[in-house]
Symmetry: C2
Subunit: 324 residues, 2 copies
């Protein structure tokens, strides 16, 4: 910036103004400065700018898994909105671990982001404390916190599972199974699903817990295990579309009639759910809207405007297709 100043025959603060408050400068001064900038290919140093202004125009977003479309699809509209507003988003992956999340939050805070997006409403106590003492705007998404740290945009996992249970009961099923990936929210859905069955006087569902995050292979294996344990008729509620996809592939291989003998329901309504054969019935979340609302609220908070409502329930839907 000092070099540019010399080239343009002004002082360094004037160059700074050319970038941040061009309207303050005389047109010809601005012109000379811009010429020097183009000539040298100078790019302002955001590190220095951040330190001086105590605004980094940086955001941190932490999701369980970057490669899972369920998360990346709300991140996409979120980062897009934020970028339009001049903010860059740092992406982090917690691998469904609260401990890892805690470490990432600490690393993120060290960079002094202007805002933080967190997936889920469950965080370690240390994490919450760090966040509070850093006094950075926070948006929790993909769940509905009872006691939000700050902003919150999500849906009720319990409620979605209850709806799924009622939907499947309504289809006349009386035997059920739940296949869950290793994810706290999936477990909560399983519990709510079970309670709804119990309330209807039905048998509790068979449970298959997957050791890690979901894959087609795990879905196949889980379905195989269910069949072999005698579950040869009923409805299976899967904690993700990927798992459901595996179930469907294995069912086809074993010539099990879907939905005649076995009904299958996914979760997330990913793109492929509508495309595979048979098309998968699934719980749909408006991830686009989730990302947009989170961006809107966080931006309002960051820029000192009113962020209302501070807690948004975006709901869910059950997309009935051929498998249940």
């Amino acid at each position: 910036m000092a070099t540019i100043a010399q080239l343009a025959g002004v002082t360094q603060p004037t160059v700074s103004r050319a970038f941040n408050h061009p309207e303050m400068l005389q047109p010809e001064t601005l012109e000379r400065i811009m010429q020097a900038v183009n000539q040298t290919g100078y790019v302002p140093n955001m590190v220095a700018r951040s330190l001086a202004s105590s605004r980094t125009r940086l955001l941190a977003a932490i999701v369980p898994m970057l490669s899972n479309v369920v998360y990346s699809s709300f991140l996409k509209p979120f980062t897009a909105r934020m970028r339009e507003a001049g903010y860059q988003t740092m992406l982090f992956e917690s691998g469904f671990s609260l401990q890892e999340e805690e470490r990432l939050v600490e690393m993120a805070i060290a960079r002094r982001p202007d805002g933080i997006l967190l997936t889920g409403a469950t965080h370690s106590e240390t994490c919450r404390r760090h966040l509070r003492s850093a006094a950075i705007p926070v948006a929790e998404v993909w769940d509905l916190a009872d006691d939000p740290i700050d902003l919150c945009v999500g849906f009720s996992h319990d409620e979605s599972a209850r709806h799924a249970a009622r939907y499947l009961i309504g289809k006349g099923h009386c035997r059920f199974a739940v296949i869950s990936a290793n994810d706290e929210r999936a477990y909560r859905r399983r519990e709510a699903f079970s309670q709804t069955l119990a309330a209807a006087g039905l048998e509790l569902p068979r449970r298959v817990d997957l050791p890690s995050s979901a894959s087609i292979g795990q879905g196949k294996a889980a379905f195989g295990a269910l069949l072999e344990s005698g579950f040869d008729q009923g409805a299976i509620f899967c904690s993700s579309d990927i798992i459901a996809h595996g179930v469907l592939i294995e069912a086809a291989r074993r010539a099990v009639d879907v939905p005649g003998r076995i009904a299958v329901m996914g979760f997330g309504d990913q793109d492929f759910a509508a495309e595979i054969m048979p098309p998968l019935t699934s719980v749909q979340i408006d991830r686009q809207r989730l990302g947009e609302e989170a961006a809107r609220l966080l931006l309002a908070r960051i820029e000192g405007r009113e962020a209302t409502p501070a807690r948004i329930d975006i709901g869910f839907g059950i997309i009935a297709r051929d498998t249940a």
Copy 2:
């Protein structure tokens, strides 16, 4: 840091040393400082640290699409390695646009990352100029640059397509089609594929160009269009496994025998390729290794060690399964 210094009864530079060179301090001084840090929950300011040391411990990685597993799966080992070494990676998505990449590189440079990872070997002239004048270590991955900016870890797209063509010719096919997503590297593979057919005295392949990035729906539609245009027998080389998956679903729906009448080959060998029915034959790239090598080279360059070889060909393999 000044607060911590007061609490511990030392000067601020001593607190700085406690973080960066603890071995320089007297154990009891260190102890007092650490107590103050824990008491207050103080997290050092990386912005100030970066400015003062002119090292940000920040990396920028630009990929075409974050939600595409093909890219996120080399990003994962890359970011993991880098994190172990104390570097955080900022992730950006260029949407297969060189213009967008150019803008992202400029934004990235403003943050003064210690290194940059770029997907592909094709970049705008402005982008290359920016990178050169910023003098930041750069790793280009997922392709083999003839004229690398700096470091390079990838494979030959041309060579992979030639192998695919020879493989399919070897299976006795004499009619071919290529379905390509809107991606420069996919087009290059298509050209190399065509040339190999021509060299073997075979008819050029039918071409189906998809308007955007790949989806199952697009694969289905492309296969429908091929059939209707009279392509009812032969081998189809798809530019991604996703597209191939769509082709397989549509083929099953139309009761087209695979691989008897139509052989299908994917690209990328994603997880689901082995799991779907029939299992998909595909071109496999060792993305894990790609990410690791990129991290290794970039780290060496950043830390002033020798980064050799500066250009690594990780090759590819053809995974023969049931569809071709």
